[in-house]
Structures are given as structure tokens and as C-alpha cells.
Amino acid sequence: MKRCLLAAIFLIASLVAAPGAETPSELKPFVRGSWQEMLRSHAGRPTLVHFWGVTCGPCKVELPLLGQFMKNHSEIDVVMISADLVPNLPGAARAMLEKAGLGSAENWIFSDGFVERLRFEIDPAWQGEIPRTLLIARDGTVTTIEGSAEIPDLEKWLDRQKVASK
């Protein structure tokens, strides 16, 4: 009986580990200071930052649309930040990103138990509702979209960025 249980645990553990092992995509731990680090590394480039979570219903619908948007627009940097309260689930987050075609995006995952502090660094007025999209222009101007973003709105914003850079 005990052996059977051990075998089951091993099987479950390997199943859970599988998506991570198969995919090269990296989930960077988002901790104190990560926000500024991320902003610095994309300075001067149009950047879409999307906050999402594995238990968020609207996120499940939106993620594949964002995956397609990223595929269609190599001119924009796409940064995905899994912003669920910890315990965050890297395996589930990675699987959802891969399925949505976002495995190759710059992917982060909240990795500080003090989630209020992480959110405060990003936007002191943000209380954690997800999905949430920040569109960062070349000059650093931020446009915030609360809730699910409409892809046509993203396209329009990106068109304006192209005009602005000419």
C-alpha cells in the first residue's frame, strides 16, 4: 500500500514537473526592484506589460488573443507578469503561457510574499485586480487598461507609436 502511494506521488510529481521540463521558457522571479529593472531594460521601446493570473477567468480568454497579438507585432516588447498572490504556481503559469503562444514572451512571476509592496512599486493605486495592461510608449508615457484589453485598442495604440517615431 505504502509503495503504491509512493509510486502515485512520484507519478504526480513528474506530471507536475513535465511542462517545465519540456519548455525552455523562463519565468523570472518578480521581487522588490524588478519593476524598475524591467522598465530600464525596455526603455525607448514600445512595451506591453500584462498582469494576469492562473485563477483569473477573464485572463483565460484574453491570453491567447495576446499571444496572437505578439506574433503579429514583433515591433513591440511583450512582458507578462503573473500577479496572483503567492503561493503562485510556476507550473500552471508556464502551461497557460505556452498554450496561449506566450512562452517566448518575457515572463515574470510574483515571487515576494509581501504582494502589497510589489504592487505599490508598480502603481500605488493598484489593488491587484487582474487582468491589467500597461502600454508604455517610447517616451515612457504609460496608458493603463483595467480589465481585459480589446485587441483593436492595442493595434490603435501601436499605430500611434509608429506615427510618433516617424
Binding site: T55, P58, G147
Partner: protein
């Protein structure tokens, strides 16, 4: 005055503990201080006082729900009892927490939600103890439906029956099969006449409500449950609504608490709080980020929720006020919420002695320098207490001065 200095002493000792805990504290990517099942490792703690003054706690730690009691207002606790033999995949959503009610006869009813699959579909499980919390019956689903359920709220009615309400996705698939768009989830309810051993068949109170926020539950009188919930109004506006039941089996009309105009297709994870005074005043506090107003607000109703006073804002808007909780206690109404200054989280409190018409100046009553549970209020019939679980400082039960 004595009470105020007691409060000051308590606040001071809490700060001291904070400082000591901080020195030995290292960065830990968890919202809990440790991974075991004991109270100090809990991420969510829910209090309830029994009629004999015993404090009962139900908490989430180490993948278990545990229960213990205290005869000395939280200074020491009985040996904790775990309500399940196996480890559970507990719902860790920000607004999820175990629910506990303690009957006059000593029976204890519990409900909480788990994630039942990899798609994070929830299931509400219930159990009860008839031997003073020494053992709990086998966990039972609160409803036979296999669709996702979360955010159960339990309340004890005057006749000893247990009223339960929760958020339930069962109407989604049938609506979609008919080609209709389905938003949010249904607000469902049931009740138990045997202390939470068996619940009546689940029934719908209101459909298309927000799927990811806690509910506020109180009683307007015997057999008259009242629920405050984040509704989805026309155009996807997630503002708050209240429903007063005619009896535990008869839902009432949906009335709007406030027109905040928060149109959002997202999970705010930030539900309301409701308490009803013996005089019948409904006290409601909530969070919104609407076009009409943003932040935490309070309003009251003196006509059973048909109309509400103009919302008043709570807290400092530059300090991200969150998680409001209101309780009409024996000596007036108390309200608490969290604020964050970039380094530490504090709990602020204010008190009203005139049914919520006017409130005292907010006072910081506790603070912590790491993550924390929502601040909750609980009353033993004599005083009102802050019940607050913090990662760095453990569990705290603080009497709140009445401001007089």
C-alpha cells in the same frame, strides 16, 4: 482612558514584536511564515466567539483547515484539531477564507473552498463538530453540483440554523449552450437545520454576479439573511448590491448600494463587508475603482437596504487603503481597513456611536512589515476586537477602545 492606554500598550508591544521578528526574518516567497499546520504558519484566520465567551479560530495553514479555541482572549489556545486527514488543495484566492459559526449548543459549523482540478474550479466543502471541536465529521460538498463554487459565507440564524451563501458557476454552461453570453457567476444559497450536517438544495438568489469577491452576510432579524455582493450591473458594471431575504428560503430584490460605475471585466478579488445593528441599520463598506469614485467607501441604510446614504471615503488615498471591514458591536459600530506606506501595512480603525451618521478620527491600531491577512472584527458581546493574522508577528486579537 484606561481602555485607550491599554490599546496604546498593545499597539506598542505589537511594534516591539515586529521589530524583533524583522531582525530574524528573511525574504520568503510565501504569504505564510512557515509551511506547517500550526496557527503561526496560517495565511488566513477566521474568528468567532461562542456565547460563553470562548474564542474559536479556523485557519488555513500547511494545506489544512485547523480549529482551536481560547478561553483567555487569544493568549493561549487549545490543541488544534485538523478537519481533514488528508492535505487539501485549498482555495488561496485573496478573498477566500474558512468560515466558522459556533452555535449556542456548542456545535461548530465550518465551510471553505478547495480547488478541485487543474483549471482552478472550486468546490465548497462543509463539516461540523458536535463534540466541542474535538472532532469533525467527514467533509461534504455543500451542493451536489460539480460546477465551480467559491467564496462561501456562513451565518448563524437566531433559531440556530446555519445559512450559507456562495458564488457558483453552474449556470454558465447551460447559458452558453443556448448561445447566450454568460457573465460572472450565480449567487447561491442553502441552509441547514442540523448545525451544518446537511444543507438544503442550493438555490439561486441572483445570477451574473462578480465571480471573485467575498460576500458580506448578516441578519436583519430572525430568519432574515442579508447579503452584500459585488454585482454585475448593465454594461458590465461591477458595483455593489444588497439583498434582504424574506425568510431563509425566499430571496428578496436586488438593490444597489452605490452607483460607482466601475465597468471592468476583471477579478477585483476585493469583496464588501456588511453588518446590521440591533436598531436595524445596514452598515456596508467596500472597494471600487469606478468612474464616479475610487477607493474604500462606507454607506448605511435605514430602510432595509432600499436606499443608502451618500458614500463616505475611508483612509488616505495616497496609502492604498484596502480590505474594509465593519461590525456593529454592543457599543457602536467599528470599521477597520489596511493602509500601506511603501514599507509597512497598518490597520486603521474608527468608531461610530450614532448608527454610522458620524465617525471618530481614524487611529492606527496595529502594523506589520510583511504580508498580512485581511483585518477582521469580532465581538464577544462585550467588546469589539481586531482579529489579524500577520506573517511577521503571528496572530493578534486586539480589543478596540470605544473612543469614550
Amino acid at each position: 482612558m484606561l481602555r485607550m492606554s491599554l490599546l496604546a500598550t498593545l499597539a506598542f508591544s505589537l511594534c516591539q514584536t515586529t521589530a524583533q521578528a524583522q531582525m530574524s526574518h528573511h525574504q520568503h516567497a510565501s504569504e505564510a511564515a512557515c509551511e506547517e499546520v500550526e496557527l503561526r504558519c496560517a495565511s488566513k484566520v477566521t474568528p468567532a466567539f461562542a456565547s460563553d465567551g470562548t474564542l474559536w479560530l479556523a485557519w488555513m495553514a500547511g494545506g489544512r483547515i485547523s480549529v482551536a479555541s481560547s478561553k483567555d482572549q487569544g493568549r493561549s489556545f487549545s490543541a488544534p484539531v485538523q478537519v481533514s486527514r488528508e492535505k487539501l488543495n485549498l482555495d488561496w484566492g485573496p478573498d477566500a477564507r474558512p468560515q466558522i459559526v459556533v452555535e449556542k449548543t456548542g456545535g461548530i459549523a465550518l465551510a471553505f473552498s478547495i480547488f478541485r482540478d487543474k483549471a482552478f474550479n472550486g468546490q465548497v466543502l462543509a463539516t461540523r463538530s458536535i463534540d466541542g471541536g474535538r472532532s469533525f465529521a467527514e467533509l461534504q460538498p455543500i451542493t451536489s453540483s460539480n460546477e465551480s463554487q467559491r467564496f462561501a459565507a456562513l451565518g448563524l440564524d437566531a433559531d440556530g440554523s446555519v445559512f450559507a451563501a456562495w458564488i457558483d458557476k453552474r449556470n454558465r454552461v447551460p447559458a452558453q449552450q443556448e448561445g447566450k453570453k454568460y457573465e460572472g457567476a450565480g449567487l447561491f444559497f442553502a441552509s441547514s437545520k442540523d448545525g451544518g450536517a446537511a444543507y438544503t438544495e442550493a438555490r439561486l438568489a441572483s445570477d451574473n454576479t462578480c465571480e471573485c469577491c467575498r460576500l458580506g452576510l448578516a441578519f436583519a432579524g430572525p430568519g432574515r439573511p442579508v447579503i452584500v455582493f459585488r454585482n454585475i450591473f448593465e454594461g458590465g458594471v461591477r458595483d455593489h448590491a444588497v439583498m434582504t431575504f424574506a425568510d431563509p428560503a425566499t430571496p428578496g430584490e436586488v438593490h444597489r448600494v452605490s452607483n460607482d460605475d466601475w465597468q471592468i471585466s476583471a477579478c477585483p478579488h476585493h469583496g464588501p463587508s456588511l453588518s446590521i445593528s440591533p436598531a436595524g441599520t445596514y452598515h456596508v463598506s467596500w472597494y471600487t475603482n469606478g468612474k464616479a469614485r475610487k477607493g474604500l467607501f462606507y454607506a448605511r441604510s435605514q430602510d432595509e437596504g432600499r436606499t443608502f446614504s451618500d458614500p463616505i471615503p475611508l483612509g488616505r488615498s495616497d496609502r492604498n487603503p484596502t480590505r474594509p471591514y465593519v461590525l456593529a458591536g454592543p457599543r457602536g459600530a467599528t470599521m477597520v481597513w489596511k493602509e500601506f506606506d511603501g514599507e509597512k501595512t497598518s490597520v486603521n480603525a474608527m468608531i461610530s456611536h450614532d448608527e454610522g451618521k458620524s465617525w471618530s478620527k481614524p487611529v492606527t491600531i496595529a502594523s506589520t512589515t510583511d504580508t498580512s491577512d485581511h483585518p477582521l472584527l469580532v465581538s464577544d458581546g462585550q467588546a469589539t476586537y481586531l482579529s489579524w493574522m500577520t506573517k511577521a508577528d503571528g496572530y493578534r486579537l486586539l480589543p478596540i477602545g470605544d473612543g469614550s
